[in-house]
Amino acid sequence: MNFSDSMKNAAGGAVDELVTAVGSIRAAVVSTEDGFELVARARDASQVARLSAMASSMAALGVMAGEECEIGGFRSITLEAEDGFIVMLQSRNPASNLILSVIADSEALVGKVILYGRKAATQLARAS
């Protein structure tokens, strides 16, 4: 997996902006579509590798679900849990399709996570 330092820096900047703007975020991870971490900001770093792999699987299943249901390409998944939620967003960078995964506490506003998540995904798509 070869990504330039400038791309990693750009991705890191996009994630930092997201984390600062939203708050109550446990982890924000940018992964390749086959489940490798590009950049991560996480309270628990041990989560990052597994989260990257899970994001890869869930996004791939999301793509297939979208196709099977004839509702178009995958954009995002929102998973609500008892103590928080996860938002996964697709970012189509020319070098690789990327997945931005955000794990937030239940105090966070899901709409705000999606809004700033989409903004970060757009930045990621342009990163080079």
Partner: protein, 181 residues
């Protein structure tokens, strides 16, 4: 009646190909571009594969393929739920093919203990070692007794043979399945 069968094994062994060889529906695939330089393949499965094979009457097999990489081990547990048996594919052309079997024997131990298993060894015509007996011995060391056969997963007949062997194993173990093909 519907029977759920899981395909597992090392990346590149041909799980996606095997399901595609026998499925009577367009297989569901979750292949994405591979970024792992250690794997000589352009695409890799990250979620699951899905295909179906019709049996006698209204019965059918539902075939689920799993990602080979251990970082997707969570998918192994998810896909194993409710499964009837395991088709484990080996790739003799890869270094450490025999040792790789251990990873999947461990990862699918609950499914193997509960149901039945069959091992298909691919590319054994071009790579004769390890031999089928080596696989059988390794499995026996792990307390797993199951058929080990050479396969070319591109051939529908070979994959159907694996499924037939698996169901025969299951019938011997539980006495619950009749002749299905």
């Amino acid at each position: 009646m519907e029977y759920k069968i899981v395909f597992a094994g090392v990346t590149g062994a041909g799980k996606t190909t095997a399901i595609g060889s026998v499925s009577e529906i367009d297989p569901v695939r979750t292949d994405v571009r591979n970024h792992d330089a250690s794997l000589a393949k352009e695409f890799t499965t990250v979620g699951l594969d899905y295909g179906e094979v019709a049996l006698e009457g209204s019965d059918r097999l539902r075939l689920y393929g799993t990602p080979g990489q251990t970082r997707f081990e969570f998918m192994w547990r998810i896909v194993s739920q409710g499964a009837l048996g395991l088709v484990l594919l080996a790739d003799n052309s890869q270094d450490g093919a025999l040792d790789a079997i251990d990873t999947y024997i461990d990862g699918f131990s609950e499914l193997i203990d509960r149901t039945a298993c069959v091992i298909g060894v691919g590319r054994s015509e071009s790579h004769s070692e390890p031999g089928l007996d080596d696989y059988a011995d390794r499995l026996a060391e792990r307390g797993v007794i199951c058929p080990v056969v050479p396969v070319d997963v591109r051939r529908r007949s070979d994959v159907l043979m694996l499924l037939d062997l698996l169901l025969t194993q299951l019938e011997m173990k539980t006495g619950t399945t009749d002749e299905l093909f």
